[in-house]
C-alpha cells in the first residue's frame, strides 16, 4: 500500500514533467508537421541556463528567465533555420532538427564540460512536505507538481479562452484560410515553436536539479518523449497527457519492483524453465525497455495511438 502510494505520487510527478515536454512537441507537430528531434535538447538547455543563472543570481530569477531564453533560442532556430529547411520538405526539416540536437549537445560539452554540473535544489524547497506512512515526500516534488499543473492550466486557458489561442487552433487545421484572413501565419509558427521550446526549457529548469544536469540528459529523455507522442497518438494533446502519466508511472513502478519474470509468470500460474537468462531478469532490469515495448505493442494493435485522430 505504502509502496503503491509513494510510487504513484512519484510517477505522477515524473509524468507531469514528461507532459511539459511532450505537449510542446505535440503542439509543434500538429501545427507545422515537424517532429522536433531537438526538443529534448531545449530541455537540456533550460537546465543548463538555469544552472548558470542560479549560480549568479539565485534559483528564482532563473525559473523565470531561463525558459524565456530557451524560448528565444527556439524562435530564432525556427526563423533562421527551420523556415529555410522547410523549402526542401519534411525530411530536410527532420534532418535539420536532428543535426541541431547534435550541435546543441556539442555546444554544451564545449561550454559546461562533459561531466554533470552541480545544479541544486534551492534551500527553501529542500525538506519534507509530508510523511506518508513512513516515507517522506519532498517539498521539491510538490513544487514540481505545482509548476507543471499551473503551466498546463495556463496553456489550456491560453489555447481555448484567448484570441491568440483561437488563431493558433485555427492555424492548426487551416493555415491557408487563417492567412487569407490577414494573420501572419509564419509569425504564429515562430511563436508556437518558441512557446513549445520554452515549455521544454521550463521542464529542464525544474527537472534538471531534481534529476541530474549532464550532457547526456537530452538523449535520455528525448527518445522517451518520442515514445509518449507515438503512444498517445500523433498530434493529440489529450493522448500525450495520458501517455505521459502512463509512462511516468510505468517507469517509477518498474524501477522499484525487484521481482523477476519467473515470479510474474508464477503469479499467473505458469512456471518457466529455470536458468534461462530471460527468466532471471527482474522487472527493474527491464525498466529501460518497457516504454519501447509498450510502443511496439501500441503500433501493432492500435497504430494511431491511444487517442490519435489521424493515421499518419
Amino acid at each position: 500500500m505504502e509502496f503503491v502510494a509513494i510510487s504513484l505520487l512519484n510517477g505522477i510527478t515524473y509524468g507531469l514533467l514528461l507532459f511539459m515536454l511532450s505537449s510542446g512537441l505535440t503542439l509543434i507537430f500538429s501545427m507545422m508537421g515537424i517532429l522536433n528531434f531537438a526538443h529534448a535538447s531545449f530541455y537540456m538547455l533550460g537546465a543548463y541556463f538555469a544552472y548558470q543563472i542560479s549560480s549568479w543570481v539565485g534559483f528564482w530569477p532563473g525559473l523565470l528567465v531561463a525558459p524565456l531564453l530557451v524560448g528565444a533560442v527556439g524562435a530564432a532556430v525556427e526563423r533562421y533555420g527551420l523556415r529555410r529547411a522547410h523549402r526542401f520538405g519534411h525530411v530536410a526539416e527532420l534532418l535539420f532538427t536532428f543535426g541541431l540536437a547534435f550541435v546543441v549537445e556539442e555546444v554544451v560539452h564545449l561550454i559546461w564540460g562533459k561531466v554533470a554540473v552541480d545544479y541544486r535544489i534551492p534551500a527553501e524547497l529542500d525538506g519534507t512536505l509530508f510523511t506518508l506512512f513512513d516515507t517522506s515526500f519532498p517539498i521539491y516534488k510538490g513544487f514540481m507538481m505545482l509548476i507543471s499543473v499551473g503551466m498546463l492550466v495556463a496553456l489550456y486557458a491560453l489555447l481555448t479562452r484567448t484570441r491568440i489561442g483561437l488563431i493558433i487552433q485555427a492555424a492548426l487545421t487551416k493555415p491557408d484560410m487563417v492567412e487569407a484572413l490577414g494573420h501572419n501565419v509564419p509569425r504564429i509558427f515562430m511563436l508556437v515553436f518558441g512557446g513549445g521550446t520554452a515549455l521544454a526549457g521550463l521542464a529542464g529548469v525544474i527537472g534538471g536539479n531534481a534529476f541530474v544536469t549532464e550532457p547526456g540528459m537530452a538523449a535520455a529523455v528525448g527518445s522517451i518523449v518520442f515514445v509518449i507522442v507515438v503512444v498517445g497518438g500523433l498530434g493529440s494533446l489529450g493522448g500525450a497527457f495520458v501517455a505521459s502519466l502512463l509512462i511516468g508511472c510505468i517507469q517509477t513502478f518498474s524501477v522499484a519492483l525487484s521481482i523477476s519474470i519467473t515470479d510474474v509468470f508464477a503469479l499467473a500460474g505458469v512456471s518457466l524453465p529455470a536458468g534461462s537468462q530471460v527468466a532471471r531478469l527482474t522487472i527493474t532490469q527491464l525498466a529501460p525497455v518497457l516504454p519501447y515495448l509498450l510502443m511496439v505493442a501500441i503500433l501493432i494493435f492500435r497504430p494511431r495511438g491511444l487517442m490519435g485522430a489521424r493515421e499518419s
Partner: protein, 424 residues
C-alpha cells in the same frame, strides 16, 4: 540511361574502381592508412545499404545500426563457435552470416516498422533502435556487456591461396572484395523492377497502389534487403576489429550513417560512397587533431541541410552539367575568388571555438591565465589578444564572404538560368 544493365563503359568504370581500390595499399603503406581504408570500405557498404531506404524508398530510418550490429554480433559468435575447425576460406565467407542475421532482423523488425512511411516510420525506427540497444545491455551473455565480444580472425593452420587474413593488408583485400560484390549487387537492385517500384513508392505511394502494388510490401522488401547489406557490413567490422561492442547497434552509429549518407548525397547511387569516404577521413583525421570535431561535423551537416540538401553528389552533378554546357569556365574565377574569404572565415571560427574549448576545458588547471597550447600555438587565454585576433579574422571573413558571395551568387544564378534555358 542505357536499357542494358551491362554495358562496356559500365564494365570499364566498375573494373577500374575495383583495380584502384585493390591498388591503393601499394601507395598507402603505413598501418594507419590501411586501417583508415578498411574503415572506409566497411562504411561504404553500410551507407549504401542505408541509402536503399532513404534515397531509393524515401524511408528515413533512425535505427539502421540495429542490422549492422546484429550482423556484427552474429559473425563474431559464429567465428568463435567455429574455433579451430575452420580455415581462412570459412572466415572469408563469414560476412555472409552477418548478412543473414541482418536479413533475419529485417524480416522481424521490418514487419513492425514498415506499416507506415514518412515521419511515423522515422519515429518507430528510433524506438526500435532504442529498444534493441537497451536489450543489448540486458543480455551480457550474448552482447558481451560493456566489454563487448572479441575473437580472433586467424584460425586453422593452412592458408587459403596464401591468405590467413592476419595482416591488415590481407583484411583490406577481403573488405574490398566484399564491398565490391555488395556495391554491384546494390546497384543491380536499383535496376530491377523492385528497385523501380521503391522509387515509385517514394515519389507517389497513392499512384503506386493504384497501379496495383502493395506499398507496404515494397517497403518491407527494401528494409529486409537493406538490412541484409547492413548485416554484411557489420560482419566485415567484426572481422576487421576482432571485437564487437554494444555501441555498434546504438543510436550514435545510426546517426553517423545517416549523416554520411546525407552529406554524400541521397539522390545519386554514388553519393553515399563519397559521404562514407569523406566522413571517415574527417572522423579520423580531424578527430585526431581536436576534441571539438563533433561540433564542426554537426555544423557542417546543418550547413549542408540548409544550403545543399542534395549533398556533395548533387554539387558534382551540377558542375558536370555546367561543364557540358561550356559554362564551367565562367564560374571557375568565382569559385577561386570565394576560396580565400571562406578560408579566412573558417580560420576565424575554428580559432574562436578552439579558444573557448581550451579556456573552459582547462577550468580546473589555473583557469586561463597560464599559456595554453591552442592549435599548436602557445597562447595566453587570459589576455584579450588571441580573442580579439580571432574575432577580427572571423569578422573580416564574414564581410568578405558576403561581399564576394553576392557577386558569385549572381553569376551562379545567371549560369544556372542559361543552363536550364538551353534545356528548355
Amino acid at each position: 540511361m542505357s536499357s542494358r544493365l551491362v554495358t562496356r563503359s559500365r564494365l570499364l568504370l566498375w573494373g577500374g574502381c575495383l583495380a584502384l581500390a585493390l591498388a591503393l595499399p601499394l601507395v598507402f603503406k603505413s598501418g594507419f592508412l590501411i586501417s583508415l581504408l578498411c574503415q572506409m570500405g566497411i562504411m561504404v557498404v553500410f551507407s549504401l545499404s542505408y541509402n536503399m531506404l532513404l534515397g531509393q524508398t524515401g524511408l528515413l530510418s533512425f535505427g539502421h545500426a540495429v542490422y549492422y550490429g546484429l550482423g556484427a554480433f552474429a559473425t563474431m559468435h559464429t567465428l568463435n563457435a567455429i574455433g579451430k575447425d575452420g580455415g581462412p576460406l570459412v572466415v572469408a565467407l563469414l560476412p555472409a552470416v552477418g548478412a543473414c542475421a541482418g536479413l533475419a532482423g529485417g524480416v522481424l523488425l521490418g514487419y513492425v516498422t514498415t506499416r507506415k512511411a514518412g515521419t511515423t516510420f522515422a519515429m518507430i525506427t528510433l524506438g526500435i533502435g532504442e529498444l534493441v540497444a537497451a536489450c543489448s545491455l540486458m543480455f551480457p551473455g550474448v552482447f558481451g556487456g560493456e566489454g563487448g565480444v572479441s575473437g580472433n580472425r586467424v584460425i586453422g593452420k593452412e592458408s587459403f591461396l596464401g591468405f590467413t587474413w592476419g595482416p591488415q593488408v590481407e583484411m583490406y583485400g577481403l573488405i574490398v572484395l566484399w564491398a565490391f560484390v555488395c556495391t554491384v549487387a546494390m546497384f543491380a537492385l536499383t535496376q530491377t523492377p523492385l528497385g523501380r517500384m521503391a522509387n515509385a513508392v517514394r515519389d507517389n505511394p497513392e499512384r503506386a497502389e493504384f497501379v496495383g502494388y502493395d506499398t507496404e510490401r515494397v517497403r518491407l522488401l527494401m528494409v529486409i534487403l537493406s538490412g541484409m547489406f547492413a548485416g554484411a557490413a557489420g560482419g566485415l567490422t567484426a572481422l576487421n576489429y576482432e571485437i564487437v561492442t554494444a555501441e555498434t547497434l546504438n543510436a550514435h552509429t545510426s546517426g553517423v550513417v545517416l549523416l554520411m549518407t546525407f552529406v554524400g548525397g541521397i539522390g545519386f547511387f554514388y553519393g553515399p560512397i563519397i559521404g562514407a569516404i569523406l566522413i571517415t577521413v574527417m572522423q579520423i583525421v580531424i578527430g585526431g587533431m581536436t576534441h571539438a570535431w563533433l561540433l564542426y561535423f554537426g555544423l557542417f551537416f546543418l550547413f549542408m541541410v540548409l544550403k545543399a540538401p542534395g549533398g556533395i553528389a548533387s554539387l558534382i552533378a551540377v558542375q558536370r552539367n555546367l561543364w557540358n554546357a561550356g559554362l564551367f569556365g565562367r564560374m571557375l574565377p568565382h569559385y577561386l575568388a570565394m576560396a580565400l574569404p571562406v578560408l579566412i572565415l573558417l580560420a576565424g571560427l575554428v580559432g574562436l571555438v578552439e579558444l573557448t574549448y581550451a579556456l573552459l576545458a582547462g577550468e580546473g588547471v589555473g583557469a586561463g591565465d597560464t599559456a595554453t597550447k591552442v592549435l599548436g600555438m602557445q597562447l595566453k587565454l587570459g589576455s584579450p589578444a588571441p580573442w580579439v585576433t580571432a574575432l577580427a579574422v572571423t569578422g573580416t571573413g564574414l564581410i568578405l564572404t558576403r561581399w564576394i558571395g553576392n557577386r558569385a551568387g549572381a553569376a551562379w544564378n545567371a549560369a544556372l538560368a542559361t543552363l536550364h534555358g538551353d534545356k528548355a
